[in-house]
């Protein structure tokens, strides 16, 4: 263990820990933009700078490992001024789009501008303009809003193992894009979207469906494969408008394209909305009473004539445990047969 002090507080952490992690461990806040706990440190945004006694320039805490006896100061008028300037520089080249930006209210950059009280840009500079839009179906790539934190690039490479995007060009022209600036053509897991700190990467389907206000967030489980990822449904007016996943879940916040973007079937217009009974070859609308009485009557007659084992039931791997339990109980206790199965084998 290494002993150091942060803002005068003694802290003890394992060797190799960064100053940032040590500070977070001690519950001392340091603002960051390019840092992500599950990705390799990058040291790009410089917002996480701190003073270390004996070093005459501030160091980036996300890349600097702790050392014994280190005396760290995370905040001072000079540091805060530097941080503010860094933010102003970033914002000098940022579309002031918060009014209509999908990310407003959930945007790290906006939040930092708020805390540092940056309203107008002192440094209003030349703006990047990217005329070309990416027409992949899932991910809106609004590169004017990109602050080049490189999180998307790292996550695609380090977590997803795909490497679909990289930072191309240098200096003012630097930009995150797929090779040759083509349309994104990848696994569309949306991991990159989930870590983007600004509105540069968002879901295409999210567009103008709602942001933070009047949204209910419900934690549930993905309806697709057996991994059982935790997902958060963002619901507005009885409609799922977005899916995300918390970091402190079994799936660590990562999802696949089905889990993240495959939710629109829920509110699809073709959902069955009423019971139907076949009459003269055609399925006709019916009430629940009619449908259920009809089924009870027909099943009763089949059972009376041919026995309970002439009735069978197929349950669903997509229904809940409770529903599956009730289904087999119904078949066994109410109908009287063990003819009950589901499609585990298929």
């Amino acid at each position: 263990m290494i002993d150091l002090s942060i803002n005068g507080l003694p802290v003890s952490v394992p060797e190799g820990t960064t100053i940032l992690d040590a500070a977070r461990f001690a519950d001392i806040p340091i603002p960051t933009l390019c840092h992500h706990p599950k990705l390799t440190p990058y040291g790009g945004c410089r917002l996480c700078i701190v003073d270390v006694k004996g070093i005459n320039r501030p160091v980036t805490s996300c890349t600097t490992p702790v050392a014994a006896g280190m005396e760290v100061t995370t905040t001072s008028p000079t540091i805060e001024k530097l941080r503010k300037t860094i933010l102003e520089l970033i914002l000098s080249d940022h579309p002031n789009d918060c009014m209509v930006c999908e990310k407003a209210g959930d945007c790290t950059l906006q939040e930092l501008a708020y805390f540092y009280g940056i309203r107008e840009n002192r440094l209003d500079g030349e703006r990047r303009v990217y005329a070309k839009k990416d027409d992949n179906p899932f991910i809106e790539r609004n590169m004017e809003k990109c602050i080049l934190c490189g999180k998307c690039v790292r996550i695609c490479d380090e977590v997803q193992g795909v490497g679909a995007i990289d930072i191309a060009y240098r200096g003012f022209n630097a930009k995150v894009c797929p090779p040759f600036e083509k349309n994104l053509d990848c696994e569309f897991c949306g991991q990159c979207v989930s870590v983007c700190p600004t509105g540069a990467l968002t879901g295409k389907a999210w567009g103008q469906r709602g942001r933070q206000k009047d949204i209910k967030e419900i934690e549930t489980i993905c309806p697709y494969c057996g991994c059982g990822c935790s997902i958060t449904l963002h619901v507005r007016r009885n409609e799922v408008i977005r899916v995300s996943s918390r970091e402190d879940t079994l799936n660590e916040g990562w999802l696949c394209p089905k889990g993240r973007f495959g939710y629109s079937f829920i509110n699809n217009a073709a959902r069955l909305k009423t019971p139907l009974i076949r009459e003269e070859g055609q399925l006709k609308e019916a009430t629940w009473d009619e449908a259920l009485d009809f089924i009870a009557d027909r099943l009763g007659k089949v059972k009376a004539k041919y026995g309970a084992d002439s009735i069978a039931g197929l349950s669903s791997a997509r229904c809940t445990n409770e529903e599956n339990y009730l289904f087999q109980k119904f078949m066994r206790a109410a109908v009287g047969t063990n003819n009950v199965d589901h499609c585990a084998r298929l």
């Binding site: 057996g226 073709a270 139907l276 041919y306 002439s310 349950s315 445990n321 409770e322 339990y325 206790a333």
Partner: protein, 529 residues
Amino acid sequence: MTNSIPEIENNDVIFVIGSNTTETHPIIGLRMKKAVRKGAKIIVADPRKINLVRFSTVWMQHRPGTDVALLNGMMHVVLQEQLVDKGFVKEWTEGFDTFRKSLADYSPEKVEKITGVPKKDIVSAALLYGKAKRPAIYYTMGITQHAHGTQNVFAIANLALMTGNLGRESTGVNPLRGQNNVQGATDMGCIPNQYPGYQRVDLPSIRAKFETAWDAKLSDKPGLTATEMMNAAMEDKVKALYIMGENPVMSDPDTHHTVKALKNLDFLVVQDIFMTETAQLADVVLPSACFAEKDGTFTNTERRVQRVKKALNPPGKAREDSAIILELSRRMGYDMKYNLIEEVLREIGGLWPAVAGITYGRIEKWGLQWPCPTLDHPGTPYLFKGGFPRGKASFTPVSYEPSKELPDKEYPFILTTGRQLFQYHTGSMTRKVKELNIVAPEAYVEINPADAERLKIADGDTVRVTSRRGSIDLKALVSERPSEGLVFIPFHYREAAANILTNPQLDPVCKIPELKVCAVKIETGHGGQ
């Protein structure tokens, strides 16, 4: 799974056989990639060059259906190289001697001839796995959907047992369950021979327990499996079928047969969220709520019971499946009464101790893995710690038998079916999601470039694929993924339903159809559908 998902990243060797993990279980795939970054080695055995091959140390491209030979070959090497865990075998297993003799026939040279995998790869895979400290095996339908699927599973178990690679953290045998709650449906007794919790219907003491709990007279005769139900419907033995949330027309082998069987019923009820191919044949269709419209639990592939929460109201008059079942049951004279859906889980816990300790309150944030018998039990991340439930585990010698339908002059290709990343199962949900269908709009048949050239098929051409059971027309996708002589079709598409072609031949023990291997021919010049 005997282990849990977080344990994957600490495997030192990952042996994936018959599972296209990154596409069918993407998040488990991510954990495997994470393990590789932490130094693990991956062994892949798959007839197709799946994505995971990119991350692997050894890739064995065996002929479809030759898994038993391949695994026996690896075990032969393990034996010769003296990598058997003698202590484990002695203490925890029985039948090793007979089993050991059964491997004599499977020298790597011989196995190379059967499987097409070079001897040296079989040897290095065996050494990697045999010498590993925390290896785990992962498989899915690529192993089970064969007429000899049970044999495949035994062979995998043998390999783990002889090397003692079971019952430790990050070490075990892990079938990956395909659908969100297949594990749960099985746990809950939606299987013809077992009540909830794998308790047999033909044991009188168990039946008596359920008769008391449910206050009903129960049948002692094991019922029919899904595939047997279809056959019984054809033979007029099953007259009425109640289907909740399944789409057998698309998921069962030999679609023509399934449709005929369903049409032959006196009465068919389908309860679903969409008008599926199966619902279209029904006498009564009942609209149900989808996962986002109800409360309950799902159990994932690692036995973790997780909380499903209601986020919105179902559309129109649609109702939760539980409400429909209860109401129907009441009208049939059997009244089940629950005030809250959680009471159902409590009732299950009373009948199956493995989940007795699980309450909605405890799984509000994180799910619990059964067995979890008491309210203060932390759940069980991996199984068989310190022994097997029935005392000793037995080795089951298995011998290689060729698949039931092999290529011949008329049907020269092997067809194998499966899923792809952007679609799910029979497509009843994903085919309704616009974005997914932009990137994965239509069915295709993957064919090796050499075969394509021989048949003068260009990428994107429409071809006709025919088996002894039917034909479908679809696009050719010329790709290095399948080996020569092998073609692959995803089964999500109703326009070109792969299961029109597949073989309904069943595994004699667990009744899984042979969806992974059948013989087909490929023709051009039919000019589209």
